[in-house]
């Protein structure tokens, strides 16, 4: 059936809530408003206000409450409107969700799912355009996933809810309108492996979430010149499925990492390090990175476009390797 990324997520939430009474959705404007990005439209009518809970603007309190509810036996889906506001709940996420299992010597696990919208591209300026999933991927104790396809938007949530530990799902804001075909009975997918979205032999292009589409567009263009790029969708940012991308680099001998975060100290730096550590003798060129420019996201459209990774910059990076 034809559907959108947004609808796929909604269907996932609906299916999980129907299947398990312990699951509930909590966040700002998820109920009456139908969700800031329209993801939860209609769910309040179906499940009622106890299970589709509108919260006040209290990120720290409601994220912490989600953690507490998970400790108390529920399976909450906490929606933080965007990753930009998650900074207000950083203490609860990093000092409680990620650490309770460890601090308690294994007694208390936290089966919480936190969904956040991330990314730039709609001229929302500096405070509303962050991509901090790479930052979160730094923290032991939580899992980070980034669905980039309809199947993943539909299927990752169930697996995340079944996980006994915290899972953070980053949905790129530019993907909600993504339309395509999805099987009627599309079900849960794993959250442990990266996927090769386009096989190739000349260079490995590693992307995730919002940058996957741009990487694929770049690959299409490169193919017309006879350069076959292998495009990998990371899917899970912590833990990273490095077996997949290392295997690819060992075959193609070249790697480009496309990451919407700023390059310094980013997830792309981690991936580069792993390639250098484990596939050094298979490299025919240094690892290249295409990241956002090191500047708070500007409002003006041409500046924002220039700041973000684009298909052209990915192509340029591949060309820069002499291909």
């Amino acid at each position: 059936m034809t559907t959108t990324y947004r609808e796929a997520i909604r269907e996932a939430i609906r299916a999980e809530m129907r299947a398990d009474d312990r699951v509930f959705l909590m966040g700002e404007d998820v109920g009456r408003y139908g969700g800031c990005f329209g993801v939860s439209l209609g769910l309040l009518e179906e499940f009622g206000p106890e299970r589709i809970r509108d919260t006040p603007l209290s990120e720290s309190a409601f994220v912490g409450a989600g953690i507490g509810a998970a400790l108390g036996g529920m399976r909450p889906i906490v929606e933080i409107m965007t990753v930009n506001f998650s900074l207000l709940a950083l203490d609860q996420i990093v000092n409680n969700a990620a650490t309770l299992l460890h601090m308690s010597g294994g007694q208390f696990n936290v089966p919480i799912v936190i969904r956040m919208t991330t990314g730039a591209g709609r001229q929302l300026a500096a405070q509303h355009s962050h991509s901090l999933e790479g930052w979160y991927a730094h923290i032991p104790g939580i899992r980070i996933v980034a669905p980039a396809t309809l199947a993943d938007a539909r299927g990752m949530l169930a697996t995340a809810l079944a996980d006994p530990d915290p899972v953070l799902i980053f949905e790129h804001g530019g993907l909600y309108n993504l339309e395509g075909e999805l099987a009627e009975d599309a079900g849960s997918v794993d959250i442990e492996t990266a996927a090769i979205r386009r096989p190739g032999r000349d260079v490995t292009v590693i992307a995730y979430g919002g940058t996957l589409g741009r990487a694929l567009a770049a690959a299409e263009h490169l193919a017309t010149d006879g350069v076959e790029a292998e495009v990998i969708d990371l899917r899970t940012l912590r833990p990273l499925d490095d077996v997949t991308f290392l295997g690819s680099v060992r075959r193609t001998h070249r790697a480009v990492v496309v990451d919407e975060g700023w390059r310094s100290g980013s997830l792309s730096a981690e991936i580069s390090a792993r390639i250098t550590e484990q596939a050094f003798y298979d490299l025919d060129a240094p690892v290249a990175r295409v990241c956002s420019a090191e500047v708070p996201m500007p409002y003006a459209r041409h500046l924002e476009e220039a700041a973000l990774p684009q298909p052209q910059t990915v192509i340029a990076a591949v060309r820069g390797m002499g291909l």
Binding site: H253, Y281, D282, L283, D284, A285, G322
Partner: protein
């Protein structure tokens, strides 16, 4: 000296509030101690009479040092001195305790380093810093002459500037024995890349190409027929032969080094590829462990007199042929190399002799160039063994108790369990491994 905080290593005893002979009770304040942050009162945990004050006012001691002794009355009282402290962290142990009351000015590591660089004797420098400390400016002033110009990185042992070579290219160059000094770079920034190595290697003459030959060996119908034949043979093998498998990861450090040395002195066309060393070793091991060199016919094993080593050659259109190099165990390495090259070329051109097809007594399948680490193969009946070599992989390796990195290869043996047992197979692999440790004797 009590620990009064997570980050306290030392303290200075400022003042005693009791004297020897005074009676004290648990909880009494007996001294004042200066930590880096503030002066703090110290209580004692015993009830009794003060015996001896061991540390004088103004003394800086490490946490855990006994400051005084208290004579207690009954055994039921809590211990007078603190429980033996947990060993102090390494940093505290290595930091010298300043015992005397005259405190000499401390110089910072930066200043010491600068003094060493500028050949300045710190003891002779008058310090103008706080407490008489020697500062950078003091050292600069004392130094004679201009500061040394930063010297450029000295050239390498052979005098040339280090070439920019990709790790993959470097590896391939070593394998093929290509001299980097004679390779023209085509990569960005003047870097030598894999294609440059390949170009240099093929320009000097045909070596065993890792890629399948561009000239196709067969027409589509021929390929199809061959496929069918292979299918039948493989199926029969798996049906009839009870295979057992053994693998061993072998340190190729000695072989690679020896090969590199030997190739250095040879012009490129004559250089040996690593595959030849492996084949020779496999052949000699087969000669030594004859139970694996022969045929299974009429329900029994018939050993072969000679070792005719079958070499699996992949064909352009798909398909595999494994013709024999006769007497491979007795051929000189360069002769074996020439024979291999010749055989591969004729195989791919479809010009094999009948004997070469019928005679192999044991076969080697070298799939290392196709990038797999190890293979577990299918024996070609009526042979009773198949030896597989994976690609050369750099691995961490323990040598005399130390960890190093060595080039290794995983060798696998598929053998017919009707003819031999695991012990025989293991003996073969051990022999092979030992031969590879002494490549100069191959």
């Amino acid at each position: 000296m009590p620990s009064l905080g997570a980050d306290m290593d030392h303290g200075v005893l400022l003042e005693w509030l009791v004297n020897p002979g005074d009676a004290v009770h648990k909880g009494d304040i007996v001294a004042v101690v200066d930590t880096s942050k503030a002066a703090v009162e110290v209580e004692c945990f015993a009830t009794g009479v003060v015996e001896q004050l061991l540390v004088g006012p103004g003394t800086r001691v490490a946490v855990g040092t006994i400051l005084a002794t208290i004579a207690t009355e009954a055994a039921a009282e809590p211990p007078t001195s603190p429980v033996a402290p947990v060993p102090a962290p390494i940093t505290a142990l290595s930091a010298p305790a300043v015992a005397s009351t005259a405190v000499s000015p401390v110089t910072s590591p930066l200043v010491r380093h600068l003094a060493a660089e500028r050949h300045v004797e710190l003891a002779k420098v008058r310090g103008t810093g706080v407490g008489g400390r020697v500062t950078r400016a003091d050292v600069e002033r004392s130094a004679v002459g201009p500061p040394p110009v930063a010297t450029p990185v000295p050239p390498g042992p052979s005098g040339e500037r280090r070439a920019k070579v990709s790790p993959l290219a470097r590896r391939l160059a070593a394998e093929l024995g290509v001299d980097l000094a004679h390779v023209r770079a085509s990569g960005p920034g003047g870097a030598i890349r894999v294609e440059d190595i390949r170009r240099a290697a093929s320009a000097s003459g045909p070596s065993v190409p890792p890629e399948p030959a561009t000239a196709g060996a067969g027409t589509p119908q021929r390929t199809e027929a061959m496929r069918a034949a292979i299918a039948a043979l493989m199926a029969r093998s798996k049906r009839e032969i009870p295979h057992y498998y053994l693998t061993e990861t072998v340190d190729l450090g000695a072989a690679v080094t020896w090969l590199r040395e030997r190739n250095r002195a040879l012009p490129v066309p004559q250089r040996l590829v690593p595959a030849v060393v492996l084949l020779k070793a496999a052949a000699r091991a087969a000669a030594a462990v004859g139970e694996l060199n022969g045929f299974w016919t009429d329900d029994r094993f018939v050993p072969a007199a000679d070792v005719h080593l079958g070499v699996a050659v992949s064909l352009r259109g798909g398909g595999l042929v494994a013709p024999a190099i006769h007497n491979a165990d007795r051929l000189e390495l360069s002769a074996l190399m020439a024979a291999l090259r010749d055989l591969v070329a004729r195989t791919r051109a479809g010009r094999l002799r009948r004997a070469e097809m019928a005679d192999p007594t044991i076969t080697v399948s070298n799939l290392g160039e196709q990038g797999v680490e190890s293979i577990l193969g299918v024996i070609y009946p009526p042979q009773v063994a198949l030896v597989g070599f994976g690609r050369v992989v750099e691995r961490p390796w323990a040598i005399d108790g130390l960890i190093g990195v060595r080039p290794t290869v995983t060798v696998s043996l598929a053998a017919d369990h009707r003819a031999t047992d695991g012990a025989t197979g293991a003996r073969y692999l051990q022999t092979l491994m030992q031969l590879l440790q002494r490549p100069e004797e191959l």
